[in-house]
Symmetry: C2
Subunit: 395 residues, 2 copies
């Protein structure tokens, strides 16, 4: 008997309010300039002013504009205001930019992660009547053992809930997490002890790793694109979905592939102060080149031919950045409407790493204009380069 | 149809030779003493000598003796020899103990990890005729994205091999990895695209994180107990196992549980120079207190009563340290023979974190005196505290 797995109960969470992108661009430039002063040690006020002007110009030029992203959660930037007055407020991860331009050591940032995630767990599960069979904790921004999810689980005496860490897989990590959930569900049936609900808990506290020390075009893109994001959703068996859920996305097929010769194009590595990202402008080209074969084989796994269904498909694509969305639209000659959720989530939130695609899934399930039976092709990309895809049906 | 999963093809790997525990105890004490001199800055040769004598005494007193562990792979300690002469050789992660007593920053240690794991992959898969369906990369000692496993996979044009990271779960991580493999196998059958072989690739380069800066009894235990370990094995479907494997371990049941009120007893956290471990001497007591219920329910899941099978079971227990093994033997009133593989692997290798239990599985499958049909109860423990268990049958 095939075991169906349906994603539902998408619940976004927040640590703080979204900050307007205009504000973030301005203050990001200001903090960059302070750190440049710490590095370059200008000998006159004039030289310092020149640094400020040049830095603002670079951030204006390379930063992701407010036309693409309206606001982002970036909790490390909350209340930051630099006016060169005495009461300037610096990012909490960079309390003394002139003296310690790399900011807090990684261990202190991890403590902030623990505290934040702990609060989100308490809040999210406050009214939870029934413990899940599993919680898969997804993150590429905070690692500690025991994790806050393990601590929460044991504190609640959820003795039969199994916690699994899905760490350090970057923007595409919702896909291995869903793949694991589908596997744990099918595996539980195979071992004769069927599970009913597996929670997937994403915590991407990206702003913990803001790196004001590297004033380069690529890093300015990272600093103005990525956002914090938090989300919990569940993978249900057919029976448990039927017992009370209104809508969801049923998994029809899944695929992942590494793209040749692209390993240097996107990297995410541990450092002494922050995790460090390198993201090259070539990423959209690599993806555009390889994506067609990948998608054809993904839909074929579910018994479809891409040509037959393409014009009616929703493309729930991870908005790594505006360029990736544009390349994919062109590659498949899509109508704007077919990718609108990707653009909307990017505009409303920025790139929230692994949480971005679940936000899109959430929007699709909530939108009454998308009928049940609609096929949804979802994709994300991350270091490797890794391409992940899933064909789902709205149910 | 239930999907059987059988573990087989256990292949230990090495970066270097095992170093006699006597040598490691001596040189660990010497390096600790150098770092203590860097911290305390003694003002006379006499004061420095006193530090050396006291440090040696502490390491002798608290370190794990050569009676329990004969040798360990500890690649960061290779060739280390401190005789107070000019040609002293320091650990490669601590090239200037007097000037930089915390040693290399974490980013440089991660580069060593990448290089080492890359070499092991090339060597292990040199004669591999067929690419696996999946590789699950297990580690709590090195994270980078793309990982060396991803880089290797794409370099080999293994386009249909899916890589999953199982990171930061500590000593018990073989269990979630096998649970994932069992899930991916069952999930592939559920989606109508059955897999045949899922590789589990463990790389625990523990000596990268040796911390000579904290001269405490608990840390001396860590420093003289843990070892590097590397292993690949495979999870096979019944059909692919039958097509050529001689012996293996079939999974009958699996369980994991968090132990209440024990979250502070073992921790593993990121730091600026190394990942930092805290391990309290209370761990064996927590485990002994909770283990009986856990094991009873684990064997019940497979349709057995513990009392009926206990005296004939092999206990393949993670030798976290000698104390844990002693507590478990007493708790279940086991014959020494029932746990001998745990003692032997500890003696021959030390605690290799997540790789230790797969070494025990390997030894059991290789040992012709253990007949097919033998039931094997395997357990491991790690941060949480998390207890993991699996009932298997030798096939």
């Amino acid at each position: 008997m095939p075991v169906s797995v349906i994603l539902s109960d998408f619940t976004p969470m927040r640590l703080g309010e979204g900050i307007p992108q205009e504000t973030l661009l301005r203050e990001t430039a200001n903090v960059f300039a302070l750190v440049q002063c710490a590095i370059q040690k200008p000998e006159s006020q004039e030289a310092a002013n020149r640094i400020l002007i040049e830095t603002r110009e670079m951030v204006r030029h390379y930063g992701v504009s407010a036309g693409y992203i309206k606001q982002r959660q970036a909790n490390a930037m909350e209340n930051v205001e630099i006016t060169d007055e005495e009461d300037d407020i610096y990012p909490d991860i960079l309390p003394r930019p002139l003296q310690q331009p790399r900011g807090l050591p990684i261990s202190e940032r991890m403590e902030k992660f623990r505290k934040a995630v702990n609060g989100l767990l308490e809040q999210h599960y406050a009214d939870c009547g029934q413990a899940p069979d599993d919680i898969i904790h997804v993150s590429c921004t905070g690692y500690m053992s025991p994790s806050p999810v393990q601590q929460f689980t044991v504190r609640n005496h959820w003795n039969n809930t199994i916690v699994t860490h899905n760490y350090h897989m970057g923007c595409y990590a919702a896909f291995p997490a869903v793949r694991s959930a589908q596997g744990f569900m099918a595996g539980s049936f195979a071992l004769g002890r069927p599970k009913s609900r597996i929670d997937i808990f994403h915590t991407e506290y990206c702003s913990l790793h803001l790196n004001f020390h590297r004033l380069t075009p690529n890093n300015i893109v990272n600093m103005t694109l990525f956002a914090d994001g938090f989300m919990c959703y569940s993978a249900f068996s057919q029976d448990s979905f039927d017992a009370g859920r209104q809508n969801g996305l049923e998994i029809l097929s899944m695929a992942e592939r590494l793209i040749p010769d692209s390993e240097q194009e996107m990297t995410w590595d541990l450092g002494e102060n922050y995790f460090e990202m390198n993201l090259s402008p070539a990423v959209p080209f690599f993806i555009a080149e390889h994506i067609r074969d990948f998608v054809e084989s993904l839909v074929a796994m579910a018994g479809y031919k891409l040509g037959d269904i393409k014009d009616d498909l929703l493309f729930a694509v991870h908005p790594g950045g505006p360029k990736i969305l544009e390349h994919i639209r062109k590659r498949f000659q899509l109508a704007a409407e077919q990718m609108r959720f990707s653009w909307e989530i990017l505009y409303e939130n920025g790139n929230m790493s692994s949480v971005t695609v679940p936000y899109i899934w959430h929007a699709i399930t909530c939108d009454d204009t998308i009928p049940k039976g609609k096929l949804v092709l979802s994709m994300a990309f991350g270091p490797g380069l890794t391409a992940c895809g899933m064909l789902m049906e709205k149910v």
